[in-house]
């Protein structure tokens, strides 16, 4: 694909932005339970990276994972239905926000365990290539994950076995409330360098900059190169998780920092590359798509409690119930 169309890139960031804003409304309205980790402000990274991928490629994301799933092309209506816990959801209502997955398009899932995606994607890419495909993979993770041993082990495996995985660190400055400076000795790029993995830092707020960097990395990987790392500097516009809207953790991010962070808006930055007419057309189309998605999600049936463990075993193994 390696999609250089600025309109399509804008559509992706706009879709993610408005999806997340609608999802936050549904959290506050009680239609989404358990809350979400909004991807607001970070849209340019998922959009830019996924524009560099082909149909056979795979990715895995994070607890803040809606953007990755949508940017890869999942149906927003089924994604929203999943968040609402409906049977029509991507995961039939069994996964929710933190596990949304669409294996039919190579999305091996958001993953709620920090740092978990790296090794899973490395194995998946290695397996696809063994079966003769030209697959590359993307492992998205945040700055908090660079202190997880599991991820650093995955860096080593991917580099050692030259598995083409693009490690994308979305450095939004905070692991929940812990600033990077309080958690990361050395540097994120330095961790990659330790394994001989080429690393670049990019402005994660500019979707086109991210896309160009991702395309270059993917091209090198398809040409036989090993894994690479992109550190995309970004800013989370809203809360770590929507529970913060209630508990108001005001102390950890200074107000002027939030103002400065929000000023670098990937949706605005990419939108300015379009004519007003094109932008308005995309905005209207995205709005119509999301109106339909909300209607679809909220009108979809909830799963039957009798089927709570239907998908527990792929082998069809049945289990004893918990009752007396």
């Amino acid at each position: 694909m390696t999609d250089a169309d600025p309109v399509r890139l804008y559509r992706t960031v706009r879709l993610i932005r408005r999806f997340e804003e609608r999802a936050v409304e549904l959290v506050h309205g009680g239609q989404i339970v358990g809350g979400i980790h909004p991807y607001l402000g970070q849209e340019g990274i998922a959009a830019g990276v996924c524009a560099a991928l082909d149909a056979d490629d795979v990715l895995a994301g994070t607890h803040r994972g809606h953007g990755h799933v949508l940017a890869r092309g999942a149906d927003p209506a089924r994604m929203l239905a999943e968040l609402c816990g409906r049977v029509t959801g991507l995961n039939a209502g069994r996964g929710g926000s933190m596990h949304a997955a669409d294996l039919s398009i190579g999305v091996l899932g958001a993953n709620a365990i920090v740092g978990a995606s790296g090794a899973i994607i490395t194995g998946a890419v290695w397996a696809h290539r063994r079966r003769g495909r030209d697959t590359v993979g993307v492992s998205f993770f945040g700055d908090g994950a660079v202190n997880e041993g599991m991820l650093l082990e995955a860096f080593n495996l991917a580099a050692l076995w030259r598995v083409p995985v693009l490690f994308v660190c979305e450095n939004n400055g905070y692991a929940t409330t812990m600033p990077v400076a309080g958690a990361v000795a050395g540097s994120i790029a330095g961790r990659a360098a330790a394994f001989g993995i080429p690393a670049v830092g990019v402005d994660g707020q500019d979707p086109e900059t991210v896309r160009v960097a991702a395309c270059a990395a993917v091209d090198r990987m398809r040409a036989g190169g090993g894994p690479e790392l992109i550190e995309a500097r970004t800013y989370r516009f809203d809360v770590h998780h929507t529970f913060e809207h209630a508990v108001r953790l005001d102390d950890y991010r200074p107000p002027d920092e939030v103002t400065r962070g929000r000023a670098r808006d990937p949706v605005r930055i990419q939108g300015e590359r379009l004519t007003n007419t094109d932008r308005a057309a995309v905005d209207a189309e995205v709005e119509a798509t999301l109106d339909a998605a909300v209607r679809f999600a909220l009108s979809s049936p909830e799963p039957d409690p009798a089927d709570a463990l239907t998908y527990l075993y792929a082998s069809g193994l049945t289990v004893r119930t918990g009752g007396g």
Binding site: V58, R94, H99, G109, A119, G123, W126, E153
Partner: protein, 322 residues
């Protein structure tokens, strides 16, 4: 009738499945050389691409296998040390096991985790001597503990072909067992096996302890008629088969190389007494609560369930019920 050792049965199973299905591959530490003596010769036969040595990165290579399984392969991981399962409990339980449900049935994760030499290997002390099969049964990962060469072969083959993760414990105490084996065939999951029929008491024994139970049953043969039931698979458990046995004998003793609290013996007893009115209170012979195996051989043996303890438990349960 050819003699086959338990260890060679595992080797045969791996070789047969690698030969039968291109999707099967083996990875682990020192598997090319075959430090466990189970994977011996497989790298030469199938190549180092399919018999892969890993760096000492258990967490990464366990999740690597999950990813490969999601992409359609059937990985088999060998762990040389049972306690490594604690290190990768997260990767097996929180990822591999949960993916089918969490994705709403979009995927399967057919990974086999083979642990040759589980339990005590006398002298390997605290961090190399655990037998944590009850943990996997508790979380719902398919768990098998074969006792004989034929079952080691048959259950490992079935595990590799199974569409969900399976942990295969091959107890150190069974690795050198030899048997006359006619047919090497797959053994179904969740089906136990009665090694010795009896009328007075059913002894459930797990893994290598099956051989101890048979020996004790023979020793006591002139006093009590002992039936020896080997569940072979701990999860799913053949409760129907065991219920049938205990319904006949009316008495139950469980011999289990796990720690006592929340152990497999506790689960087996609970499952039986939910269904069967026993003639006497059931008994269990296990490692002590919270046991850590001490180094010195006499101490190591002291915390493992033994034949004397089993004989005592059988006598007590016979006395209680008479």
């Amino acid at each position: 009738m050819p003699r086959l050792s338990y260890r060679r049965a595992l080797t045969r199973a791996l070789g047969d499945e690698l030969a039968r299905d291109e999707a099967v591959f083996l990875l682990g530490e020192d598997v090319q050389v075959g430090a466990s003596l189970v994977t011996t010769g497989l790298a030469k036969r199938f190549g180092t691409e399919r018999v892969r040595d890993t760096p000492l990165s258990e967490q990464a290579f366990t999740s690597f296998a999950t990813g490969a399984a999601l992409a359609g392969l059937r990985p088999v991981i060998e762990f040389q040390i049972p306690s490594l399962l604690f290190l990768v409990f997260e990767q097996i339980v929180n990822h591999a096991h949960k993916f089918p449900l969490m994705t709403g049935g979009q995927c399967r994760v057919p990974v086999t985790y083979l642990v040759p030499g589980s339990g005590s290997r006398t002298g390997w002390a605290g961090q190399h001597s655990d037998h944590p099969y009850s943990l996997f049964a508790h979380v719902g990962v398919v768990t098998v503990v074969p006792a004989t060469p034929a079952d080691a072969y048959g259950l490992l083959v079935t595990a590799i072909r199974h569409d969900d993760p399976v942990v295969v414990f091959a107890p150190a105490g069974a690795m050198d067992v030899r048997d006359d084996v006619d047919d090497l065939v797959p053994v179904p999951l969740g089906r136990g096996r009665i090694h010795r029929f009896g009328d007075d008491v059913t002894v459930v024994a797990i893994g290598h302890l099956v051989h101890d139970a048979i020996a004790v049953a023979e020793e006591l043969a002139d006093q009590v008629s002992v039936e020896v039931f080997d569940p072979r698979t701990l999860y799913p458990f053949d409760i129907d088969g065991l219920t049938e046995s205990v319904t006949r004998t009316g008495r139950l003793v469980v011999l289990d190389d796990g720690n006592r609290a929340c152990g497999m013996a506790a689960e087996i007893i609970a499952s039986v007494v939910e269904r069967v009115r026993l003639l006497a209170p059931p008994r269990r012979v296990t490692r002590p609560d919270g046991a850590v195996l001490p180094f010195a051989p006499a101490l190591d043996r002291a915390v493992q369930p033994g034949r004397d303890q089993l004989a005592t438990a059988i006598h007590l349960t016979m006395k209680d019920g008479s």
